[in-house]
């Protein structure tokens, strides 16, 4: 009659196995988050985090894209879940009705975005009648408008060629443009070709923000993974400070520059730390709202926007508490 305890134990064991199986099956791992980013010094900590193993490839897959236009487009058409884009791009996406959330302010351009001119152009007003190459993203137009405002030159006085930043160097080299509105690393490459910076984002501080944004549906379903990305982001920023040489080597290699260019690259951007980020995206009135409104107004004025966009709708202040 020993069979009864054995049978009873067997039934219990099989029950436990089934329950474990079902619970294990319900815990199906998600696909890695698809993060799209173009070449820009401010985004480099992302790649660095991956290369250093801070970001697990099973959780995050970074698509390295050659230009910012394809980054924005791939985010718009949901080829990516997360994207590193500028504030003006974010405002444009919001104005189009794209539901998104801002996770982190990756950097604030402080010279990284610039207007480069041939050596013979000495002052801003000299751009009149010149061929101007701009990046084919809202930022390009925004920078152009800011340049024309400051230079006091009319749009009709110049010839504009929008293109991906990847093509600007060759365009300039081929003599097809006298003025190039671009950003790093093209800026450094053009400088090496003899071009001079006549205007840059340090002259319009707190206007060009680079953000890590995510689609709303992904935000709602993968908050933990997103939080992990931001946490690793700040960890990598610290690594770059602590391991300057290694970071310089890795970043410049990826961007196709010399190691000596590294400090110049970083000079053109300000990378907010955790504390600054919490001020920009957290609290009762996130600090990013004001520059957002200002930028939005400028964009309306420049006819890039039809209505004012409230950046606040893309901010979940509670998210800052996770990092």
């Amino acid at each position: 009659m020993r069979i009864i305890p054995v049978l009873s134990s067997s039934v219990k064991l099989i029950s436990v196995i089934f329950i474990l199986l079902v619970s294990a099956c319900n815990d199906t791992p998600d696909e890695p988050l698809r993060v799209g980013a173009g070449p820009w010094p401010g985004y480099e900590p992302l790649y660095l985090a991956r290369d250093l193993g801070f970001l697990k490839e099973s959780k995050v897959n970074i698509f390295e894209l050659p230009s910012s236009d394809i980054t924005m487009e791939s985010f718009r058409n949901h080829s990516t879940d997360v994207a590193a884009i500028t504030l003006d791009e974010t405002i444009e996406l919001l104005s189009e009705g794209t539901k998104l959330r801002i996770l982190t302010v990756m950097d604030v351009s402080h010279g990284g975005d610039a207007v480069l001119v041939r050596p013979e152009i000495k002052k801003l007003s000299d751009i009149k009648g010149k061929k101007v190459s701009i990046v084919n993203i809202p930022l390009g137009l925004y920078m152009l408008n800011r340049l024309l405002d400051i230079a006091g030159v009319s749009r009709n006085d110049i010839e504009v060629f929008p293109m991906a930043e990847t093509k600007q160097e060759k365009f300039y080299k081929d003599g097809k443009a006298d003025v190039v509105i671009t950003f790093e690393p093209v800026k450094t490459r053009l400088k090496k070709l003899g071009a001079n910076v006549i205007f840059d984002s340090s002259m319009i501080p707190n206007e060009i923000f680079d953000l890590l944004v995510v689609h709303e549906d992904v935000y709602l379903s993968r908050k933990d993974d997103l939080c992990e990305i931001t946490a690793q982001w700040f960890k990598t920023l610290q690594y770059m400070k602590d391991n300057h040489a290694d970071a310089a080597k890795r970043v410049t290699h990826r961007l196709g520059l010399e190691i000596s260019d590294y400090d110049g690259l970083l000079d053109g951007i300000i990378q907010p730390d955790i504390f600054t980020n919490k001020k920009l995206l957290g609290g009762e009135k996130p600090g990013l709202i004001e520059p957002g409104e200002r930028l939005s107004k400028v964009m309306i004025k420049e006819k890039q926007l039809k209505v004012l966009v409230d950046v606040n709708e893309a901010i979940d202040t509670s998210f800052t508490s996770c990092y």
Binding site: L21, V22, C25, I70, S79
Partner: protein, 523 residues
Amino acid sequence: MRLRIVLIIPLVLVLLSTGFSLMFYFVTNGQAANIIRNQDLLKVKLDITRLQNILYSLLTEDATDLETARLNLSVTAMDNNIKKLLVTAENDVVLIANRYNWENLSANSISGYKNIEAKKIKLSNHQELIFADEEETLLIGYYPVVIKLENVEGFPIKQRGVLYIEYSMENKLLKAKRVALNQSATIGMVLFGVSFVIGLMLHMLVSRRLSKLTLVAKEISKGNLELKSNLRGNDELGALSSAFDEMIDRRKIAEKELRHVNENLEEIVEQRSDELEEKKQELLETQAHAHHASKMSALGEMAGGMAHEINSPLQAITLLTYKLKKANLSTSAEQRSEIANRIDETVYRISNIIESLRKMSRGSSSDPFEVAALKDIVDNVIGITKERYFIKGIILKIIYHDNSETVEAECQQTLIGQIIINLLNNAYDAVKELEEKWIKLEIFSDDEKVDFVVTDSGKGISEELREKIFDPMFTTKSIDEGTGLGLSLSLEIARKHNGSLTVDASSINTRFILSIPRFNKGT
């Protein structure tokens, strides 16, 4: 612990469901994995040949458009499953890659890329070389790409480069495995649930109710009839329960009746015992009376004979006394003495007859068993009866066989004598009116028993009568002649001596055989 039959069915179902789930898992997962591998192979071939075509267009122009090529490669690589996608020049240096930091490195430094495989593509006309790794989770592809690059002298020349891809199927296979696991677990859970429900139903409908019936049965076996099963339901167990409860009710009634009977039984037994005792007493008294009556009857029958028996000597004494009175001087003293002696002998003879009669009348069933000579028994009987036969002209023969005159037997001598008297009296009555009148008393003996056989000249006893003659109160004689108890009592005495009294049916004459053991303490 008892083996619960109701557990066997759900247990078998559980085991079957587990087995089925496992089989389902392996079959489904295997099929899904095959489909995934085939589909991914097709997808990779399609995507990469498309990219191959684009790259051909971009990289074979005089002004090689690496930037656009990189854009196309990067866009193609926007797939979580593409781990590596790169284009190498003829010298295996990476031109463009989905990770920009691989560019300008030797492809051999990138794990997975093997220049031996790449060489096969570059040197042969193979359109592609695509295969899965050992674990069959990764597709590795080498595709030829024509690239126009400047040589050391600055002249653009066409090279045969390689488009390398690593495509991981791991996630899809893992998902398929989990889906298969999920489905098989769900099926298993459902079947397990069904098994559980069946088990529960069997428990509720069979096991629990059977336990109740068992409990009631046990209580009944202990004598407790107060418990009832009272199972509800119209099924077989419900019917069994009803029958069971009905049986309990009936048994209760029967037990009640039995108790009642038991209570009265003692009284009845006591009453019957008293009655039986009374009857027994009556019977004993009747037997005693009958015995006495029989004995008296026998003695009465002998009385006639005895009158002659005593009368003849008395007449002889009278005659001798007369002779003695008339004796004179001529009568010698010797003659007188002879007369006196003859008177004396005659008196002695009378005395013997009286002694025999006394002995016969005195005997009873309470006499002790004593060793008695057969001859004494016979002599006592004959002493008091022989005269009757003589008077009637009946020839009485006493024949000892087997030297029986010297044999002794342990018996109640007087009662055995009474049987013989009874038999002789019956013989006397039977032959006294016949022309041929004889009675024969034969005595046989051996080491164990003694037979007294009384045969007369009668023609025997019919079969019909033989069956009745030993019955009490049965007689063929007139009321004056017999009581009907003689043979009945004789049989009883014979049985008391562990012996027998039978009619010899084989004899042409009437023949009774009294047989008793020689050594006897009676019953």
